[in-house]
């Protein structure tokens, strides 16, 4: 009974079917009971204590996350992303030193996800505070991501602030003939001037 329950519970993880769940359960029982107990503790701790930052909505174990608490960042620039994972990805490679706002989703009218569900009322408040000068919209280049970007840009324009949208184009290592038409069209139409390289 207990073992069946364990197998059943393991299946909540993405991509874990009954076979894999059974394999994991037996592995933990056979080889790593100590590690499994630590995992169980970590799960309980995380699930009970991790909440959302009251300012940017990313995951945080304290009321306000480390980035939002960092006074040294550029308060005039706010970058909007769909998920905490997107925020981390940008933070690691862009050198962006402004603040973030995490939607935890995207507008998706056909799934019943409207502006409140992605915290746009909170974003509105943030814009009203008057410190932000540029909003960088980094939602995904999907139909829903574009609809979200459009909705947010209308909101930001009402405050007469600058709005920018991350560029999308051909991925590194990609080959033009195999690129989907929307991406290729976009990359071509939004081509950039190549500056002369001065040494």
């Amino acid at each position: 009974m207990i073992i069946e329950r364990l197998i059943e519970r393991l299946r909540i993880m993405p991509g874990i079917g009954p076979k894999s769940a059974q394999r994991i359960a037996y592995y933990l029982l056979d080889r790593n009971r100590h590690g499994a107990i630590q995992l169980a503790d970590a799960l309980v701790e995380a699930m009970q204590q991790i909440k959302y930052c009251d300012r940017c909505r990313t995951y945080s174990e304290v009321e306000r996350c480390a980035i939002c608490c960092d006074q040294g960042r550029d308060v005039t620039r706010l970058c909007i992303v769909e998920t905490p994972a997107d925020q981390i990805a940008l933070e690691q490679v862009t050198g962006f030193r402004g603040y973030y706002f995490v939607l935890l989703g995207r507008l998706s009218p056909l799934d019943g996800v409207g502006p409140e569900a992605i915290g746009l009322d909170r974003l509105q408040q943030r814009l009203q505070e008057g410190e932000v000068e540029e909003v960088i919209i980094a939602t995904n280049p999907t139909a829903e991501g574009e609809a979200t970007a459009h909705y947010i840009s209308e909101m930001v324009h009402q405050h007469a602030l600058k709005v920018t949208r991350i560029a999308h184009g051909i991925p590194m290592g990609g080959e033009l003939e195999f690129i989907d038409p929307t991406t290729l069209n976009h990359a071509f139409n939004r081509r950039v001037t190549v500056e002369r390289f001065n040494r």
């Binding site: 993405p14 991509g15 507008l107 009218p109 056909l110 799934d111 019943g112 409207g114 502006p115 999907t142 139909a143 574009e146 609809a147 459009h150 909705y151 209308e154 690129i179 989907d180 038409p181 929307t182 991406t183 069209n185 976009h186």
Partner: protein, 249 residues
């Protein structure tokens, strides 16, 4: 439903639901098979693995679809682009969601609607042109109602349509259809002028009549659609309305 395999069928993607780790259940509107739902494997990217058909499985783009398999849930075998339409932006994009939501709510799976497919395709093309957005939506709503068996009857009882006076008043009520409205009498449905009916019948209106025709047509179609849509509000319509004081739908 179907056992056969269907190849390269013209279609548009209406909606995707994530399924399992990397798959999706996708509703398509097809030319000859109406609305279908298929299981599309591996179409969502998971860590380290790229999504199949990435960038091609988009709404509002003409596609060629191949699917088949037994049972309620056929498998998607292939997707190709069939021509290219510029990406929809702004309110045109949200209007695209509105059309898709209407199709999902108003049509039943596996019911062929090839005329309506033609109308949808034409609307998708027109959405990329500098045309009056609201009117495009009205004409699609008109076609959708007709295709679902609720066509507006432009031939008025006891009166030949040629006699339809542009300025005459009419009243549309759910039970009675469209009837002439006697002067000074009250219409507890939607009151409208002959010119609005003529515009909806022909698909065009005189520029000078826009201020009459557009709001009346919107009211009429909204009224008629509401009987078939029930109480559940259209999410995309709400989004269009929140965006603009003067709403489009």
């Amino acid at each position: 439903m179907t056992q056969e395999r269907i190849s390269l069928e013209p279609a548009f993607l209406l909606h995707q639901l994530p399924y399992r780790e990397s798959s999706a259940l996708i509703d398509f509107f097809t030319h000859h098979h109406g609305r279908i739902r298929v299981l599309a494997k591996g179409v969502r990217s998971v860590a380290g693995r790229k999504a199949r058909y990435g960038g091609v499985l988009q709404p509002f783009q003409p596609l060629l679809l191949s699917w088949g398999g037994r049972g309620e849930l056929p498998l998607l075998y292939g997707v190709e682009v069939a021509g290219f339409l510029a990406p929809l932006v702004g309110n045109h994009l949200i209007s695209g969601f509105y059309l898709n939501e209407l199709l999902l709510r108003m049509t039943h799976r596996h019911e062929p609607h090839s005329d309506l497919f033609g109308s949808y395709h034409a609307t998708m093309v027109a959405l990329r042109q500098p045309r009056a957005l609201a009117w495009l939506l009205r004409l699609f709503e008109r076609d959708l109602l007709a295709e679902c068996g609720y066509a507006i009857d432009f031939n008025l009882p006891g009166e030949r349509s040629a006699a339809l006076q542009a300025d005459a008043l009419f009243c549309c009520r759910q039970q009675q259809g469209i009837v002439p409205l006697a002067a000074e009498s009250h219409c507890d449905g939607v009151a409208l002028q002959g010119k609005t009916l003529m515009a909806l019948a022909s698909g065009r209106y005189e520029a000078a009549d826009a201020a009459t025709v557009l709001p009346q047509a919107k009211q009429l179609l909204r009224y008629l659609l509401s009987f078939y849509l029930g109480d559940k509000p259209l999410q995309s319509r709400a989004l269009l309305q929140q965006q603009r004081p003067r709403s489009l739908t």
